[in-house]
């Protein structure tokens, strides 16, 4: 086989492999998208129907029978609040850890271990605590918990980003007459903007998707969109149609956000890969 042909064959195989992997990964999403528009009969039919008459009865059901609006609003509140808390706090923590190495590595490690802690082990104790102080079924408890568990992540991500900025720059600023804070505000911060955006997006998405705490700690007032979706698993069985519509609505904002910021996200994911 001569060169050009072999290259074409290699490319073809590569594309086929990618197509297979993509199909497997996208299958549930596509299925969800289709199911959202199927009538109850079509949903459960075997073999699954690809061609069908779309209907919006599921969406109607969702808006009438479930608390989707409240769920969306609460999810939004919690996500934004968590971003507002974890990103600035993470940034200052990351700066002191990256530049001063506060705690000589121990503190940094401690923060990392919080991330390793399995949330499910924390759920029961936190449930009891929040119940005792009357914060059950309150978005505040969700904000607090999500902030706690996202803070190590934002801190660590920002430490990597800050380490990319040479210390020389702050020193040059300080020798030129800036205080440390001015050096931070005028030199580091502008350079850190993309990093802060990425960190905020990740923290936001993690919180938006969070299910365990939302499920355990909310009843009627603090329900998030994830909780609302759980409501479609009833004693009568799983309401696939409405569930899919709800899921579609729930994932739409995050999907569009990720699409709009994909350049930043890729950078965040590959950070540290080439060093």
């Amino acid at each position: 086989m001569n060169r050009p042909n072999r290259e074409i064959l290699q490319k073809a195989i590569l594309y086929v492999l990618i197509a297979i992997v993509l199909s497997i990964m996208l299958l549930p999403i596509v299925w969800m998208g289709l199911t959202a528009f199927k009538s109850e009969r079509d949903v459960l039919s075997i073999p699954p129907k690809i061609v069908f008459t779309p209907t919006i009865e599921n969406f109607n059901y969702v808006f009438e029978k479930s608390n989707i609006i409240k769920g969306l609003v609460n999810s939004l509140i919690v996500s934004i609040a968590v971003i507002v808390i974890t990103v600035p706090v993470g940034m200052f923590a990351a700066y002191s850890l990256a530049r001063y190495n506060i705690g000589g590595g121990h503190l940094a490690f401690y923060i990392l271990t919080i991330k390793m802690f399995p949330p499910i082990a924390a759920v029961i104790p936190y449930f009891v605590i929040f119940r005792n102080i009357g914060l059950l079924d309150n978005v505040i408890s969700l904000i607090l918990l999500n902030s706690l568990f996202n803070l190590p992540f934002t801190t660590w991500l920002l430490i990597s980003f800050i380490r990319e900025i040479p210390v020389d720059l702050e020193e040059a600023a300080m020798i030129s007459g800036a205080t440390r804070f001015e050096a931070f505000r005028e030199i580091i911060l502008p350079l850190l903007r993309p990093a802060l955006a990425v960190t905020a997006i990740f923290a936001g998405i993690f919180t938006w998707n969070e299910f365990l705490f939302a499920f355990v700690l909310s009843r009627t007032e603090a329900i998030t969109i994830t909780r609302v979706m759980a409501g479609f698993f009833t004693e009568r069985g799983i309401l696939w149609g409405p569930l899919s519509s709800c899921a579609l609505i729930a994932t739409a904002p995050m999907f569009m956000l990720a699409l709009a910021t994909q350049k930043y996200i890729v950078r965040g994911l590959t950070l540290g890969a080439v060093k």
Binding site: P166, L169, A172, M174, S176, T179
Partner: protein, 351 residues
């Protein structure tokens, strides 16, 4: 890490910190600048104690090896930064920045971002930023290291000229001995955090205090030959295996005064070895190992036992490996092998 440094630098002096990587030059500069605190000891500017004074109040400027230009600011803003921090009037700032940019020939780049500049241009912007405030002390950390060889030599002359114009005290760190020797008034040679010797370029070259300074300063480097101090009765000599050098009584006394060790080092610079194709009385016969046809003086590698010694030969003397030549040592130094310290400097001989 630095160890017990005691340096006094004079006003308006061009003072060099010379040493290999890891010698502590950058650390010392940073301590003077105030971005790093010494674990013990004091820093004085004239008679003022500076230890607790933050960098911004010390009226020093520093030019970093990496240039440390603010990537998100234009050249103008980079250079204006120190002036803006001093709350100067914008008109004034513009005048000063433009004037310095003019001197450094970067006026046409004022609106560019650092990433749009070449290495040489960035270097001049960094220098400009250091000069705008007319500092008491100008600190330069290996400013020429990242430039190509030709530009480096050009900039060396620029620095020398600038230093005469400016009258600020300049402290300049470099690992390049030729650079230091050509620009500095005085040099502190450093190694592993310790100052080996402080002196003018001439002092360091002609009267090195120890082996490190002897070898580090001067190119090609000083040759190091192991020898033993041997005394038999009234006679004393340095036995280097391949040859012996007879010592005068006073020299022998000097050596015995300074050290009890018998293991010594004979340090001889390539330029102090004469090489001749004709056999001469009293000269040492050595075999040529290699001949490097560098201009203007060729470097000859001579075999002394199983070691090599470098000598310089004028361009008309062409040699081949295997040739036999007769060498004389015009001037050498004697060092104590154990401590590295100088014992006798500049022993002049007639072969």
């Amino acid at each position: 890490m630095l160890n017990d440094i005691n340096l006094e630098i004079n006003d308006s002096e061009f003072f060099c910190l010379l040493g290999p990587s890891g010698a502590g030059k950058t650390t010392l500069l940073r301590i003077i600048a105030g971005v790093e605190a010494p674990t013990s000891g004091e820093v004085y500017f004239d008679d003022k104690l500076m230890n607790d004074i933050p960098p911004k109040d010390r009226n020093v400027s520093m030019m970093f090896q990496s240039y440390a230009l603010f990537p998100h600011m234009t050249v103008f803003d980079n250079m204006a930064y120190p002036l803006r921090k001093r709350k100067m009037d914008e008109q004034e700032i513009r005048k000063i920045v433009e004037s310095i940019a003019d001197t450094l020939r970067i006026k046409h780049l004022l609106n560019r971002l650092p990433k749009q500049l070449s290495g040489g241009e960035r270097q001049r912007v960094a220098l400009g930023r250091a000069l705008v405030i007319k500092p008491d002390v100008l600190l330069l950390d290996e400013p020429l290291t990242n430039l190509d060889a030709k530009l480096r030599v050009e900039m060396r002359a620029e620095f020398k000229r600038l230093s005469k114009e400016l009258k600020t005290t300049i402290i300049y760190a470099t690992p390049d001995q030729a650079e230091a020797m050509s620009v500095a008034d005085r040099i502190a040679v450093m190694n592993l955090g310790v100052v080996q010797q402080v002196g003018s370029p001439d002092e360091l070259y002609y009267t090195p205090k120890n082996i490190f300074v002897g070898v580090f300063v001067g190119s090609p480097a000083m040759n190091i030959i192991d020898c033993t101090f041997v005394e038999s009765g009234d006679e004393a000599c340095l036995d280097a295996g391949e040859f012996k050098y007879r010592l005068t009584k006073s020299m022998a006394e000097m050596i015995k005064d300074k050290t009890s060790s018998r293991e010594l080092i004979l340090g001889i610079r390539p330029e102090d070895i004469t090489v001749s194709k004709e056999p001469r009385e009293g000269m040492l016969m050595l075999e040529v190992f290699a001949y490097e046809a560098v201009k203007p003086d060729a470097i000859i590698d001579l075999k002394v036992g199983n070691k090599l010694v470098k000598a310089l030969a004028p361009e008309w003397l062409v040699l081949n490996p295997g040739d036999k030549v007769w060498c004389g040592f015009n001037k050498f130094h004697i060092f104590d092998k154990r401590t590295g310290e100088i014992l006798i400097c500049g022993v002049k001989t007639h072969g």
